[in-house]
Each structure stands twice: as C-alpha cells, then as structure tokens.
C-alpha cells in the first residue's frame, strides 16, 4: 500500500477532519489543541502579516494578537469557513488595528526594512528575483501593498479583500492597479520560471 500523495484529495480530507477535531477540542477549552492549530497556521498567518506590514516586529505582534483574538472568539466560530480562512481575517483586522495605532499614513511610502530578507530561502530562490520582488512589495505604499498582498499573493477576490480592508471594491481594484504599475516600474518584467 502506498502512502497517499501530499495534497491529494484524500490527504486534504484527512487534514480537514483533523483540523475540525482540533477546533472542537479548542472550543471546549483545550489549550493543547489550540497550540496544534497555531502550529498548522502560523506560517501562513505570519507570512500575510509580514507582507502586509513590511516589518518583522509588527508582523510578530500582529500574529500574536491574531491568535490571542482567535482563542477569545472561538466560541463564536461556527465553522462556516475553514479555521485558516477565519484566522486570516482576524490577522488582517490585527494588521489594520496596528496600523491605526501607529497612525501610519495609509498612502505614505514605507521604508524597506529587513522584512524581505526574512522570507524563506529568499536569496536562493530565482537567483534573487523573488527577493527583489519581496523588497519591491515591502516598499509599496501601505494601501496598495495590502491590496496587492491579499489579492495578488494570497488569491483573495476583490470583494473579499475589500470587505477585509473596509474598502469599496472599486478602491480595491484601483489600489491593485497602482501597486502593479509601481512594481512593474521598479522591477521591469519579473522573470518567470519555466
């Protein structure tokens, strides 16, 4: 008997069932189950926060806040969406709340910090092409960056991203357009792997 392929339908269904069981246990107060959920989702949540904030310390704060808030809100989680999707939304709220506390000007340029260098294997991937792209994303104005990250990198629809960011769909589209223009202007055409 062969092991099911990672990413196969069977494997996805097994993981989903496992996650539902963890969510149920966590809802009943199991801190261990919640920690397991954290371990499963922290990479994606942190990646989202890091790209949205372009700052490692802020991304860590937002990730922590998102999981603390998720624990607190677990009783109201009814499983209409996947836990990962739900915690992503909480993370976006945490990023936006953090931005408001810092009173970062929404349209202002954010200096590139070390965030891009913290991306996994950034230097090894694509001969530095992805690293340049990460740096260029980090240097985008906050509003354009947030839309680009949600729609361009994480694959949310404009409607979903607009709802998460509290924007009109039209504003979301124009921010994405602006972000793409700025990136192409700065990078030229990024190389695509065959």
């Amino acid at each position: 008997m062969t092991e099911p392929e990672a990413g196969s339908e069977f494997e996805r269904a097994r993981r989903a069932a496992e996650e539902r069981a963890l969510v149920d246990s966590a809802k009943r107060g199991s801190r261990a189950a919640f920690e397991a959920l954290y371990r499963i989702h922290v990479g994606k949540v942190y990646g989202l926060c890091l790209r949205m904030t372009a700052n490692t310390a802020t991304a860590e704060d937002c990730t922590q806040e998102a999981f603390i808030q998720a624990w607190r809100s677990l009783p109201s989680f009814e499983g209409r969406s996947a836990f990962g999707t739900w915690v992503h939304r909480i993370a976006v709220n945490a990023v936006l709340a953090q931005g408001r506390r810092r009173t970062e000007p929404t349209g202002g340029e954010v200096p590139v910090d070390e965030a891009a260098d913290r991306m996994p294997d950034a230097g090894a991937r694509n001969d530095g092409g992805d690293l340049d792209l990460e740096r260029a994303i980090a240097a985008l104005p906050a509003g354009a960056r947030q839309v680009l990250v949600l729609v361009g990198v994480y694959g949310y629809s404009h409607e979903e991203a607009a709802a998460m960011l509290g924007l009109a769909v039209g504003t979301c589209k124009s921010q994405l357009h602006r972000a793409r223009q700025l990136l192409v202007g700065r990078l030229g055409a990024p190389e695509v792997e065959p």
Binding site: Y38, T63, I68, S73, R180, V184
Partner: protein, 198 residues
C-alpha cells in the same frame, strides 16, 4: 496598454502567485501567545463576577416574567374580589446590562435557552392577538441576532458587532419583560399588541 506592458503585468502576476504563502517566523511565537492568553484570562477573572451577575439578571427577569404571567392567569380564573385600590405593579423589570465587550458565556446561554423555553409555554397561553405580535417581535430579534452572529464569525471581536449583539439580547429580554408588565397590568389578558412593541 502596449503589448510589452501587458506582458510585464502578466509576468508580474505569475511571479506574485508563485511567492510562498507560508513564512515561518524567526522565533517561536507560541510562548508569547500563551502568556498573552494567561494575562487576558487573569484580567477577565477580575471581571468574571459580571458573567454570573448577567446570567442572574437574565434568570431573574425570565423567572419573574414567567411567574407573574402564571400568577396573572391564575388570578384571572379565580373568583373576583373587590379591591380598595388597584394593586401597583409588583415588579419593575429593568433590562439586564452586560456592558460593552462582555462576552456571553455558555452557562448564560444555556440558562437563557431553558428559561426562554419555560416562558414560551406561558406565552402560548396569552390571547392570540397579543401572542402573535409578541412572536413576531421575538422572531425579528432572533433573526437579527443570527445575522450579527454570522457577521461576528467573519469579523471576530468586532466591538461594534459585539455591542449590537448585546443590544439585541437586551431588547429580547425587554420584550419578554413587557409580557410580564402587561400581564400585571390587566390580569394577564393582553389585548393591545401595540404595547408589546419595543
């Protein structure tokens, strides 16, 4: 847009979609999260008295409402005796106040469900017109609470939604309290549905 520009945009979109979605933090964040959970639990322990108080307030409200309705119905069936003066309402029921951001615990919700069930049995004995109006109001409020709960699932912890939910619960209790007041006011035979409006 020129072909070159379009091609650049397409390449950019592909490069963006290819970026890894998962980025592991440089350090384990769980210890900080765990201590954050402890801190919040300690803070909420300080306010925990509010939960039993809220549950007790709701319980008193519902029990009072159901008891007085029953008493009124019993009085209505009993032989009439002359009174020197009309009896003032025996209980003035205030809305339960939970405070903004105060989460409703499972114990409160279970008590509320049980007491609401008991009260519904009493309501079934009200005159049809009044009962209809009451049921309509309650069903609107319950629909509102379902919608807010659904919105809360999408935006967990949203203070505005939490406050709205508490307001709806308070309104629901106020409607139930109005049953009690009406029962006390006219011997349980509520005939004016408008008085059951919030």
């Amino acid at each position: 847009m020129s072909d070159d520009r379009e091609e650049s945009m397409r390449s950019l979109d592909e490069a963006l979609a290819r970026l890894p979605r998962t980025v592991e933090p440089a350090r384990d964040l769980w210890p900080a999260i765990e201590s954050g959970l402890e801190r919040r639990e300690e803070r909420s322990r300080g306010r925990r008295w509010l939960r039993p108080t809220a549950a007790a307030a709701a319980a008193v409200l519902l029990v009072t409402a159901s008891s007085l309705i029953t008493a009124s119905l019993v009085r209505r069936d009993a032989p009439q005796v002359a009174r020197l003066a009309p009896e003032p309402p025996r209980v003035v029921v205030a809305q339960a106040a939970f405070g903004p951001g105060q989460a409703l615990g499972p114990a409160y919700l279970a008590a509320r469900r049980e007491l609401a069930r008991t009260l519904e049995e009493r309501i079934a004995r009200l005159p049809p017109e009044g009962r209809l109006q009451l049921e309509r109001n309650l069903s609107e409020l319950r629909r509102a609470s379902q919608q807010i709960n659904a919105a809360l699932e999408l935006s967990p912890g949203d203070p505005l939604l939490e406050e709205l939910l508490l307001n709806v619960y308070q309104d629901e209790l106020a409607v139930l309290a109005s049953v009690n007041q009406l029962a006390a006011g006219n011997g349980g035979a509520t005939t004016d549905p408008a008085r059951m409006q919030l």
